[in-house]
């Protein structure tokens, strides 16, 4: 809960929900939890506006509430981590599209927009929307099947239900175990043809399960890292290991329970045609994965043809270290990165030893070490000797790395960057708001004219109201905004890595 996080959260709320929600959100962020009355007082907004904003925040699970001391009114609290997820939405959609196809993408997109929705309303809305789209060929039957398979896979879960406890006016949200639904298709088709969804009697509400997506992202990072380090076959083997891990241990466990190599061999035999090398050399690949795979996998025993466990916690640590290495390299140069890694390899090291091992000129080495210290990448631990009789008691200064603290600092840096990118995008948008507005209007008019079948000459006339220089500027702005949004996604990926690392307690 840092100042930088507050700035990012505020910028994101502004982007997606506008100024009023931003004001309420920032207020909640600054003060922790507070009731409506207090929010009205500090923000100076009308009570109805505050209530509306809170409604929005609660709907999208960006805030929670709990009964305050007197049990009659509720205290509201912002969930900054969930606000950050708003910029991850495109990644969720991409994941769905690549894994399950366009129907799944549509379902998740609609559900993300609605926040919570009943299955039947969701299906009918999407089917109605794409009724005329012949290309995609969306039918309600296909959507229903996809919905069920997404629920089964855990990407969609049941929303928590509000329950009133005795003696309290404030309801509490109770999570519900997800049961795979049985949706009847006939009433849905009826509702679609009549265009009236109010008759659907469906009171089970659904929402997207972010955690399931995050597991996918985690697996992807680990597999990609192994593929980079060894090769595709080893990456595939890592995938099998992770799949097995889901069956036997909690999904986010720092270290999985032992997995049997025999089952892996079975899996690889099934793939003999596709990956002959993997099938032929399974045991060798396991050995290489264990020895050169950055410590992602560890052998724990030899029974049953070898017992392996996946060390997700260690993997997160290694990956964060790799990210930090990159950051140091880019910020202070590769020589500094060498010192950074050297200190890490030695745990605690004296200044003289750094110079000897890093093979750098004394002066440069000192300068870089102090620069690293200044930017909080390394820490120093003085070891004072007891006062000796003759001369000065010399202290020994040992350099070392507090990984948790360094990662925090780097995460802050990410927040700063993300805020800056959002802010820049916003100012670019406002600076060219008039032009972008004009473009939009011209496009609507032209679209309307085309539909009415007006002559090409008239259409050209309208289109020419946008002068070539204006078009050039617009093109430029579009390019800039695209670059900024790519940067947002990349920063979010980086933040994901840090969040994953912080999930495991500091050793």
């Amino acid at each position: 809960m840092s100042h930088q996080l507050g700035r990012v959260v505020s910028a994101i709320l502004q982007r997606y929900f506008g100024d009023i929600v931003q004001q309420v959100g920032s207020d909640l962020f600054t003060y922790g939890s507070k009731p409506i009355g207090m929010i009205v007082k500090t923000t100076g907004l009308a009570r109805s506006l505050v209530i509306d904003s809170l409604r929005t925040l609660l709907k999208f699970d960006l805030a929670t509430f709990e009964p305050s001391a007197n049990e009659l009114i509720a205290d509201y609290k912002l969930i900054p981590d969930n606000v950050l997820l708003l910029i991850r939405y495109p990644r969720y959609l991409l994941q769905m599209k690549s894994k399950y196809g366009s129907e799944a993408e549509l379902l998740v997109e609609e559900l993300l927009q609605q926040a919570t929705c009943s299955a039947s309303v969701l299906l009918v809305t999407i089917a109605t929307k794409y009724k005329d789209d012949k290309e995609k060929n969306i039918t309600i039957l296909k959507l229903k099947e996809m919905f069920i398979s997404l629920v089964t896979a855990g990407y969609i879960q049941q929303a928590p239900v509000a329950e009133l406890k005795e003696g309290s006016e404030v309801p509490t949200l109770v999570p519900v175990a997800t049961i795979v639904p049985d949706i009847e298709i006939r009433p849905l088709i009826q509702a679609m043809s009549s265009g009236d969804t109010s008759e659907l009697k469906d009171n089970i509400y659904w929402r997207v399960n972010y955690d399931r997506f995050h597991l996918d992202f985690r697996d992807e990072i680990m597999i990609k890292a192994i593929t980079r380090r060894i090769d595709e076959n080893a990456g595939e083997l890592m995938r099998f290991l992770l799949e097995q891990m889901y069956l036997k241990s909690p999904a986010w466990a720092a270290e999985s329970s032992p997995l049997c190599a025999l089952e892996l061999r079975e899996r690889c035999r099934g793939l003999a045609a596709e990956r002959p090398l993997l099938h032929q050399y399974v045991d060798q690949y396991l050995k290489v994965l264990e020895e050169n795979g950055g410590g992602f996998v560890r052998r724990v025993g030899d029974s049953g043809g070898g017992q392996l466990c996946v060390r997700a916690g260690l993997a997160a640590r290694e990956l964060v270290l790799a990210a930090l290495d990159h950051t140091v390299t880019e910020r202070l140069g590769s020589k500094a990165a060498r010192i950074f890694r050297l200190i890490r390899a030695r745990k605690y090291i004296e200044e003289d030893d750094i110079q000897k091992n890093a093979m750098l000129v004394n002066k440069e080495c000192k300068q870089l070490t102090y620069k690293l210290l200044e930017e909080h990448f390394i820490s120093v631990q003085p070891m004072r000797k007891a006062a000796s009789s003759g001369g000065l008691a010399k202290a020994v200064y040992l350099y070392h790395i507090k990984l948790h603290d360094v990662s925090q600092a780097a995460q802050e840096l990410c927040y700063r960057s993300l805020h800056n990118v959002l802010r820049r995008a916003r100012s670019t948008r406002t600076a060219h708001a008039r032009l972008r507005d004009k473009l939009r209007r011209v496009r609507t008019i032209v679209h309307g004219m085309r539909l009415r079948g007006e002559p090409q000459r008239n259409i050209d006339d309208v289109e020419e109201t946008l002068t070539p220089p204006e078009l050039a500027v617009l093109q430029d702005v579009e390019k800039q905004l695209k670059q900024l949004s790519t940067a947002e996604l990349e920063l979010d990926r980086n933040l994901f890595l840090f969040k994953w690392y912080f999930m495991y307690p500091e050793k």
Binding site: R228, L277, T329, A337, A345, A358, L360, S417, N420, V421
Partner: protein
């Protein structure tokens, strides 16, 4: 006894001594030269000792004569006693050298006198002063013809007490090139990953041979030197090291686990002003020049 036979006798003793550089005892001499009488031997040895051909040691109660290095014998010719003492101290220190303060303490000479003696010896090219790489102010003396020890000269990486960073950089790049040429063999090796991995490993000796064959180094590099360079590659994150069963260290080139993360892809991640950047004020993201350059 004539002078001639005297000289011959001395020659014979010296020959015996030369064959046994560790020193000879009375017995050895009589065994090697049985015709000698003990009186002759005593005079001959006394003369030799006076001419400083021998050092005299007492080993387990037996007197041992050891022949002195030829150079030192000649070097001190025509020198006075102080010079001899100082010279001997410096000689003892070998290629590690000796600090002027230690000479003073051990020779019991006054400072001014010692400086004079040292200057004399230096001008005769008998000794030389070498600057120490660890402490630039500290000078050590050693015999003129000796190559300074690694700890004094810093080894191959120092030229006149200056660290040659360019040289190290070039070697670093070359070593990496050598390793990365091999690293491709790991991927999808048809003979299995373990064979593939073994092919990517290179021992320090192999790298040293490659570097020597390239001919980029004017000084001869040992395997130890190459290992220090390879270790810098490990610290650069470009290589990892492992140990073969026979105990020799092997290296192979590796890639970082992840590509450049988002943080360094945006200008803010590398911006030197990031900690001064705020929503308002002189440095803001809205009109940041680095951002502008990046977006254009």
């Amino acid at each position: 006894m004539s002078v001639k036979t005297d000289e011959q006798l001395k020659e014979k003793i010296l020959n015996v001594a030369k064959k046994n550089p560790k020193g000879i005892s009375h017995k050895d001499i009589t065994a090697a030269i049985p015709e000698i009488s003990s009186a002759d031997l005593v005079t001959a040895i006394n003369e030799l000792l006076q001419q400083e051909y021998f050092d005299l040691f007492n080993q387990n109660g037996v007197l041992i004569y050891r022949i002195k290095a030829q150079t030192s014998k000649q070097a001190v010719k025509g020198a006075d006693n102080e010079e001899k003492v100082v010279f001997n101290l410096i000689e003892e220190a070998g290629n590690k050298g000796i600090w002027i303060r230690d000479i003073r303490v051990r020779s019991n000479l006054a400072n001014t006198q010692l400086t004079k003696v040292l200057k004399n010896l230096e001008s005769k090219k008998l000794i030389k002063a070498v600057k120490c790489v660890n402490a630039s102010k500290k000078k050590v003396y050693m015999l003129y013809n000796l190559e300074p020890d690694r700890s004094i000269s810093g080894g191959a990486w120092y030229q006149d007490q200056d660290f040659e960073s360019e040289f190290v950089d070039i070697l670093n790049v070359q070593c990496y090139r050598f390793l990365s040429q091999r690293s491709e063999k790991m991927k999808n090796n048809p003979r299995g990953p373990i064979v593939g991995r073994t092919q990517t490993y290179a021992t320090a000796a192999e790298v040293q041979k490659y570097i020597t064959d390239l001919g980029i180094s004017k000084v001869q590099l040992d395997v130890e030197d190459v290992i220090t360079i390879l270790n810098t590659l490990v610290y650069d994150g470009k290589a990892e090291s492992s140990v073969y069963p026979d105990g020799s260290k092997v290296y192979r080139a590796i890639e970082p686990l992840i590509p450049a993360p988002g943080l360094v892809q945006v200008p803010c991640g590398v911006c030197p002003l990031i900690y001064k950047c705020a929503s308002t004020g002189l440095i803001t993201p809205q009109d940041c020049n680095y951002m502008k350059e990046w977006l254009d």
